[in-house]
């Protein structure tokens, strides 16, 4: 497995949720033809979602993308090789924490954002009522990966430029477990039948596939 692929898999899968589940949980189907032969398979569903710091499988995400609401499209600049991962040390280039360094805690590739621990924060007031002034919560705002941050070189702890290169053994594969499969001139079914002692002596009649 190439190192970039390995990192990309880490980026997407840190929540330990499969892609299928994430797609299923954010799905909003408005109308669907019955899955019968006399209907064409047509589905009317939400195609464009507004991605925020709320993750797609949460209730807050659904709250922000309520059915039948439309929001303006957000322009996303393409980032070819994603290079910002959880645990990376980065330097902030903008805002009140300009020049400070911090560790990436969350990655939001849909918006080209990262959230850095303890930097670029603001206060939010939550749950204010007439008598109750509410609770103050300190929360970090996201930072844009192309414009707002820079990776930090671990050797001298200074912000650097970087580039991706291939190593000699780039195609290294990671495998766990004992190899118990032995190639054999039989299909899966034949092997299982032999294993379980099932003998088939009948010959199938001639048949035609069309």
């Amino acid at each position: 497995m190439r190192i970039t692929q390995f990192l990309a898999s880490k980026l997407k899968n840190f929540s330990n949720l499969p892609k299928e589940y994430i797609e299923r949980s954010r799905k909003q189907v408005y109308w669907q033809t019955p899955r019968e032969k006399n209907y064409l398979p047509r589905t009317v569903e939400r195609k464009r979602f507004r991605y925020t710091t709320n993750r797609p499988w949460t209730g807050q995400f659904r709250q922000q993308n309520m059915p039948a609401t439309m929001r303006r499209k957000v322009l996303i600049e393409p980032v070819e090789d994603w290079s910002f991962f959880r645990g990376d040390r980065i330097e902030v280039l903008v805002g009140k924490d300009k020049g400070k360094q911090g560790i990436v805690t969350q990655v939001i590739p849909e918006r080209n954002w990262v959230i850095v621990e303890g930097l670029n924060w603001h206060y939010r007031r939550v749950g204010a009522e007439k008598e109750f002034p509410g609770i103050i919560i300190k929360s970090e705002a996201p930072l844009h990966v192309l414009n707002d941050i820079r990776l930090v070189d671990p050797s001298d702890l200074l912000g650097t430029e970087f580039e991706w290169r291939f190593t000699e053994e780039g195609e290294k594969r990671l495998l766990w477990g004992e190899i118990t499969f032995q190639p054999k001139l039989s299909t899966f079914e034949m092997d299982i039948m032999e294993e379980m002692g099932i003998k088939e002596e009948r010959t199938p009649a001639k048949s035609y596939w069309y």
């Binding site: 949980s25 594969r173 766990w176 477990g177 118990t180 039989s186 299982i192 009649a205 596939w209």
Partner: protein
Amino acid sequence: MSTILKKCFNLAKTVRTATITSLLTAPKQQWQALSAAASQTPHAQMMHTSPMRHGLMEFFDDPKHWSENDIKVGRAWRTDELRIKSNKELHQLWFILLKERNMLLTMEHECNDKMEIFPSPERIDKVKISMDNLEKVVRERNTAYHLLETGETGERPQKRVNNAFGLQVNYKSCEHVLPPFMNLKWIKSRNIGFGGRAVNRFLLKYREQLYNAKRKAKNRSRNEVMMILRRNPNFDLEVLRRKFPDVDIDKLRSADKARGHYVPKVGV
């Protein structure tokens, strides 16, 4: 829930072994133990053993998981991991996964019925991914055998045919006793041609729709490139060219829409 059912659950709690769940999460040691047990003695083959039966309660999760908000489980089986397993182990794993899927779907249905939260619904997807991967691996092995022995893949034959609306659909062949020229019933049922004025008009409009979708997608990517160039004029053009191969980027650079809302610096 009635008292009898509760008693059943308590009984199940005491008797139930953790084999299935641990097999799903921690594959390595369990498999080794299983394979070692299977290959120990020839006398073991004489003795028939069947797994412990809990009756219908096997369709339900362990009662200690019922009130939990989320259940920690591992990831799905990957194809690379399944490729190194023997056929026997794959066969066993298939039935473990099948039972797990039955259990999860039952629990989901039951939780919906009782207006409760089904904990960790991503488990269903994980089992499904594992089963898909397993089937893929078995198909690979069978295809290799058939290609070697017969020169054909051994898969069910499929072909693209036109249906009554003149659209291309996938036709999966079936197995028949009679050859096609003798099978009158099949010939009658497959007598699908297309033609006539209505079908031609439908096809005209259908193709127009397809063309419009293509045209709109092209316009959309063109607009997106212009907006990116407007916001950051120094954006890497090579990246844009790779991302939008069908857009003429050099032409768009001088487009009016790609110009930003600022006075360009002259002579700097």
